[in-house]
């Protein structure tokens, strides 16, 4: 098959593909406002439907074979797996689900590239075409195993320390060179089936290995990056089949993943390179802040009284909120406080949680109106006028070391300046440092009190206490 579309396509098919591409773009455009976003998703889904119809009726080489039975079987099986999974999944587990779906998309592109290579055995592919096919295979495979590892990490099935070791980034660099070298060799010389399978295996290993050292607070970056890889693999597969719609869809996804990757890196003030090297935190920096100081503790009734008599309260949710499934109780507390004239807001740091926008989805699930969710800048300007900040399962995003300890691994990362508020309460299970393993001087700050315990249990206690006031 040529890269350029040589098959004569009918007018109807071309029209379907064109409308499909427009629906994708228009759908993404409508995603830019919460009011129209749902419609946008529906448009994109319709675009996908048109694309599939187009693919089913497009005139193809060896026409007449069609094998519609195989196609129907595959589509039914996929739908039977996909729909129930999407209906059942908890909002707190969204990062895992997105990772899995992402990996499957990459795997699909990878499979297409393998077949293309095997079918073209013995014939000479042009260099351009060969480059496209091997690129599809590589990116698809990396996205596949990378996403599966990201899923396993997010789901707590694999701990970072199980899959990584000192100097892992050196191994990754070597692997990357091997993969690229191998790819160039195969592009120029063509490959036997054994070599193609060898290249596939190396690519799969690289995908796994490149995600291995990245963990914890860096997950939003890596998920975004894998998202953009899957988009690229779909776009490259589109070039293999000379299908413009696949190209457009893939590139849109690639663009979306790339933008999110950049935004997440900016939110942590780190370069992508720095993230990929991995090993965030855990350095020798922890010591400085906690010498001799003791964190003050509070009990639920103290905090309840403080909440009740505040004029403005700001919740700062983090991954701990998701783990404790505490979003609904937070909303309950919010309702009671609002009923008593307390102004309640939420401060959402861009990298709070394990994927971009994770906290927003959880709070939306709990019926918190989105105008109450403040982003980093708005929250920081509102904080000096806030009476009480309640931190629920967030840690690194409220760490003052980011501003005043040049030695800290998170130095320079924009954080929520919660210490500018009049009082801070930290809901936390224990004094252990956050996911990144960095001690947080905020816990020892004059304004801070700690309320120990599971976030959900603590907030339930607060709800009960506030109701009694």
């Amino acid at each position: 098959m040529e890269v350029v579309e040589t098959i004569e396509s009918s007018f109807l098919v071309n029209l379907l593909y064109l409308l499909g591409a427009v629906a994708f773009v228009w759908g993404l455009r409508l995603l830019s406002s919460p009011d129209t976003a749902r419609k946008g998703n529906t448009y994109a889904a319709i675009g996908m439907g048109l694309a599939i119809i187009g693919a089913l009726i497009e005139p193809v080489q060896n026409g007449g074979n069609n094998n519609y039975g195989w196609i129907a079987g595959g589509m039914i099986a996929g739908a039977l797996i996909g729909f129930p999974a999407a209906k059942k999944i908890k909002m707190t587990a969204m990062p895992q689900m997105v990772s899995v779906f992402n990996g499957l998309g990459g795997a699909c592109a990878m499979v297409l590239a393998i077949v293309e290579l095997f079918q073209n055995q013995g014939t000479t592919m042009g260099l351009g075409q060969a480059a496209i096919v091997y690129f599809t295979l590589l990116i698809g495979a990396v996205s596949f195993t990378g996403s599966l590892l990201a899923f396993a990490k997010l789901d707590g099935r694999i701990k970072d320390k199980h899959v990584t070791f000192k100097g892992h980034s050196i191994l990754n660099n070597i692997l990357l060179l091997v993969v690229i070298g191998f790819m160039v060799f195969l592009m120029i010389n063509g490959g036997t089936q054994g070599m193609i399978i060898g290249f596939l295996i190396v690519s799969l290993i690289y995908g796994f290995s490149f995600v291995a050292p990245i963990g914890g607070a860096d997950m939003p970056v890596v998920i975004s990056l894998l998202n953009s890889f899957t988009g690229l693999s779909a776009a490259a597969a589109g070039l293999i089949f000379g299908n413009q719609l696949m190209l457009v869809g893939g590139i849109l996804v690639g663009a979306s993943g790339t933008i999110l990757t950049v935004l997440m890196c900016e939110a942590m003030n780190r370069s992508l390179f720095n993230v990929l090297i991995g090993g965030f935190g855990g350095g020798a920096v922890a010591a400085a802040s906690d010498d001799g100081k003791v964190a003050k503790t509070a009990n639920a009734s103290d905090v309840a009284i403080q909440l009740f008599y505040s004029q403005s309260v700001m919740f700062v949710p983090g991954y701990g909120l998701a783990v404790a499934q505490a979003q609904k109780v937070v909303k309950e507390l919010d309702d009671i406080l609002e009923a008593n004239g307390v102004d309640v807001k939420y401060a959402i740091h861009p990298v709070a949680g394990r994927m971009p926008g994770h906290m927003n989805v959880l709070l939306a699930e709990a019926d918190v109106p989105y105008p109450k969710l403040l982003d980093l800048e708005d929250a920081n300007s509102a904080l000096p006028n806030t009476d009480l900040v309640v931190i629920v399962g967030a840690n690194d995003v409220v760490n003052p070391a980011a501003l005043d300890e040049p030695g800290s691994p998170i130095y320079g990362m924009p954080v929520l300046n919660v210490w500018e508020a009049k009082n801070v309460v930290v809901l936390k299970r224990s004094m252990s440092p956050g996911y990144a393993g960095i001690q947080n001087p905020l816990f020892f700050h004059d304004k801070t009190k700690m309320l120990f315990g599971d976030a959900k249990v603590s907030i339930q206690a607060l709800v009960a206490e506030v109701k009694n006031l």
């Binding site: 995603l31 196609i71 996804v253």
Partner: protein, 105 residues
């Protein structure tokens, strides 16, 4: 060098499409607010399921006795369809929650 020139000339329209789509993609997506980043990601994910088009074309072009291509194509369709069906459904579920909120407040 010759191959590159040849490739460039032969695929000029595709290259135009590629570049303009990249620009368009960045323009459209950079307007999506932080609140919607998770739905954006899962929606984009569903769109990347467009690879299913390739899998369908692959199966349709395959010889009915070429079980290698048919099996891998089948796997491709299943993977792509999970992505498409699951991705759009889960995105809709999320966005439904956002919409409901607006009506209430």
């Amino acid at each position: 060098m010759d191959t590159i020139v040849q490739f460039f000339n032969g695929n000029l329209l595709l290259i135009y499409l590629l570049i303009f789509t990249v620009i368009l993609g960045f323009e459209v997506i950079s307007k999506v607010p932080t609140v919607l980043h998770t739905p954006l990601m899962s929606g984009a994910n569903a769109i990347s399921g467009v690879v299913i088009v390739g899998a369908i074309l692959l199966i349709r072009q395959s010889d009915p006795t070429d079980y290698f291509s048919l099996s891998l194509g089948l796997i491709g369709i299943i993977l792509g369809m999970i992505n498409v069906a699951g991705g759009f459904t889960v995105t809709d579920r999320m966005l439904e929650m956002f919409k409901k909120k607006k009506a209430k407040s």
